[in-house]
């Protein structure tokens, strides 16, 4: 009797994928119960919910419902990972295309005030199929090269949709159209802040890390100071730096000419630089400490100088760990650079905080989505690079 029940359970477990149960419940909820798009007669007014069948022309609506049910079935049954990945990609591509069509379908002709944005059902569907995609990718465990290829494919696809104007009917793209020049200026500032401070932190942090590795007495002190900096909240550190930089700009000739000012990008840059130092220095120390003694002894044995040893033995062996530190910094900086907007430093945070101030969700998204995409891209690219630099590693971050 008990054995019969266990067998029954095993047979069910064999047929159904546990994660698939969650995915299909989410997908069916998103498609059937939650609104697909929100329609507003103008930018400020309260939105009205529209289901899939209301938001799309009938044939496309039925098409999407069919695709969702098919996707849920693929998720629910134990299907090969490659097949699951293809299904998830197809569903995500369809959602991306259809939300643009829904915007055009819902907006009355010749009406430039009406706003259409994706609603909760759309986001739930995107989440469900992203989950399916992540799970399939985790199971397939693609190599770093393939992961970069998938990333490039997705970015090119999304880029071409943007260029072709497929999403122009959506509210977020109308916000963009109203301030396209500003958007690219802030994008440039955001990337400059994040990458520039990373570059500065690498230039200073690497030698500092090597020094800390060589001089043991220095190590604890330097790391403690850098650790303490991390406990200062970002908005405070940005603010605290306004005073000294303002003083430098006013009192040191030439400083203001190169762009150093009390408010704006300079304090943001310095703050991001200070936050970046800890991961770079700490990982350099850890990486160098992890170099096998035998490798160093062998190098000494064949008469290498300290500098030769550092360049040809220690540094290459420590490189993956150092790169991990750089990955942490880059992802963190892309996120933190949004705070720069609070002190007039620009970046995507400008749209986020403006949107919060006006309770304009689409404006928030205009700042938040590029930030998340940037951070995510940086993480995938650097994870792949790290995996490529570690010889014979079978283990990596699938994200």
């Amino acid at each position: 009797m008990a054995i019969g029940i266990i067998q029954e359970k095993e047979r069910l477990a064999f047929r159904f994928d546990k994660l698939g149960v969650i995915i299909s419940i989410l997908a069916l909820y998103g498609a059937l119960l939650a609104p697909f798009a929100t329609y507003r007669a103008n930018r400020i007014i309260q939105g009205e919910a529209r289901g899939i069948m209301e938001a799309l022309p009938p044939h496309l609506g039925y098409g999407l419902l069919f695709l969702v049910v098919a996707g849920a079935a693929v998720a629910l049954l134990r299907t090969p990972a490659l097949f699951r990945m293809a299904m998830a990609l197809a569903a995500l591509a369809a959602l991306a295309g259809l939300i643009g069509i829904a915007a055009d379908h819902l907006t009355p002709p010749e009406n430039s005030y009406a706003r259409v944005s994706p609603a909760s059902g759309f986001w739930v569907l995107v989440f469900a199929f992203s989950l399916l995609l992540t799970d399939a990718l985790t199971r397939l465990h693609p190599g770093p090269g393939l992961r970069l290829l998938v990333l490039a494919g997705v970015l090119v696809l999304a880029g071409s949709m943007l260029v072709a104007g497929r999403w122009d009917g959506l509210s977020i793209m109308k916000e963009y159209a109203n301030r396209a020049d500003l958007f690219w200026a802030e994008a440039g500032r955001h990337v400059t802040l994040a990458l520039g401070s990373l570059a500065a932190a690498t230039v200073v942090g690497l030698p500092l890390g090597i020094l800390c590795h060589r001089v043991e007495r220095l190590r604890a002190g330097v790391l403690n100071v850098l650790n303490a900096i991390q406990t200062i909240p970002s908005i405070a550190l940005f603010g605290i730096l306004i005073a000294p930089l303002g003083w430098i700009a006013a009192n040191i000739p030439g400083a203001s000419a190169v762009g150093i000012r009390g408010i704006g990008a300079a304090p943001a840059f310095v703050a991001l630089f200070l936050y970046s130092l800890l991961p770079v220095v700490a990982n350099t120390v850890v990486g160098l400490a992890g170099v096998p003694r035998a490798a160093n002894d062998a190098a000494r044995g064949i008469g290498m100088t300290d500098r030769q040893r550092l360049v040809t033995i220690e540094f290459p062996l420590a490189f993956p760990v150092i790169l991990t530190g750089i990955r942490i910094v880059l992802v963190q900086n892309i996120g933190l650079a949004t705070i720069a907007a609070l002190i007039g430093g620009g970046g995507f945070g400008v749209f986020v905080f403006q949107g919060v101030g006006q309770t304009a969700m689409d404006l928030v998204l205009l700042g938040a989505i590029p930030t998340v995409v940037l951070a995510f891209t940086a993480a995938i690219v650097l994870d792949a690079l790290i995996e490529m630099t570690v010889p014979n590693s079978s283990q990596g971050n699938a994200a």
């Binding site: 985790t138 908005i235 603010g239």
Partner: protein
């Protein structure tokens, strides 16, 4: 990476912090040089002490909820029934960490309105990650001999979990909680951009009125809290780790 201060220094930080929160007027002379003439040197739009209490309350609620959820999830994916979620949960944690806290906060506003709620959501989501990761490490790197011995002694799965696995993993889980608390203490200040009552209010008031003293006191109170709580939790971890390994 250990962050240790001599006990005396720690005590001094605590005393100065408490004195500042309860009698900020004592410190006015030190902060006055930082502000323009006639501008207040001590935050005057509310009690620093109460803002600190509210700040700590927000962080505590978010971290507590994050700990309960993250540890439960880690337990589920390390059981046999949830084992197939383990690789996926690792990927999700990696992905989750790339979301900037400001974005999470800003996106929670339209759903939950202004105030404490979006801050709690953002802190909760952000706090999940380090705790989950550490709980996972703690539960998957137990010495196999101990687990085998417990199995041999005839313990059931839940007995093993409660009496053996969780106590052994506790120090590592606490490390995750500590990381999460320190991150949350700093991130909570951003909550004040959406009108949450935290110490961020002091900093933002300083940024808006160009008052460096406000920015400095808000920032330093948070930093002092972070250092003290960090050290206290680290002490607790060491005590627990010492007791377990006897």
């Amino acid at each position: 990476m250990m962050f240790t201060l001599p006990n005396l220094f720690r005590l001094a930080v605590l005393v100065v912090l408490l004195a500042f929160l309860l009698q900020p007027a004592w410190f006015e002379a030190m902060l006055t040089p930082l502000v323009q003439e006639n501008a207040p040197a001590i935050y005057n739009q509310g009690s620093l002490f109460w803002l600190t209490v509210l700040h700590l309350r927000t962080v505590f609620i978010a971290t507590f909820a994050a700990t309960v959820v993250a540890v439960s999830l880690a337990i589920i994916v390390t059981r046999k029934a949830g084992a197939e979620f383990l690789p996926l949960s690792r990927s999700l944690v990696n992905i989750g960490q790339t979301f900037p806290p400001v974005a999470v906060l800003a996106l929670a506003v339209p759903i939950y309105g202004f105030g404490e709620k979006p801050t709690l959501i953002a802190l909760f989501l952000y706090g999940l990650l380090p705790i989950f990761e550490n709980a996972l490490t703690g539960l998957t790197t137990l010495p196999p001999t101990v687990v085998e011995a417990a199995r041999g002694a005839g313990m059931t799965g839940s007995q093993r979990l409660i009496r053996i696995e969780l106590p052994l993993a506790l120090p590592v889980i606490l490390t995750g909680v500590r990381l999460s608390v320190v991150i949350s203490l700093a991130t909570a200040t951003i909550g004040s951009t959406v009108a949450a009552k935290t110490l961020g209010e002091v900093i933002i008031a300083g940024l808006q009125s160009n008052n460096l003293a406000f920015v400095l006191q808000g920032g330093l109170i948070v930093a002092a809290l972070a250092v003290l709580i960090h050290d206290a939790l680290q002490g607790l971890e060491r005590t627990l780790a010492g007791r377990v390994h006897v």
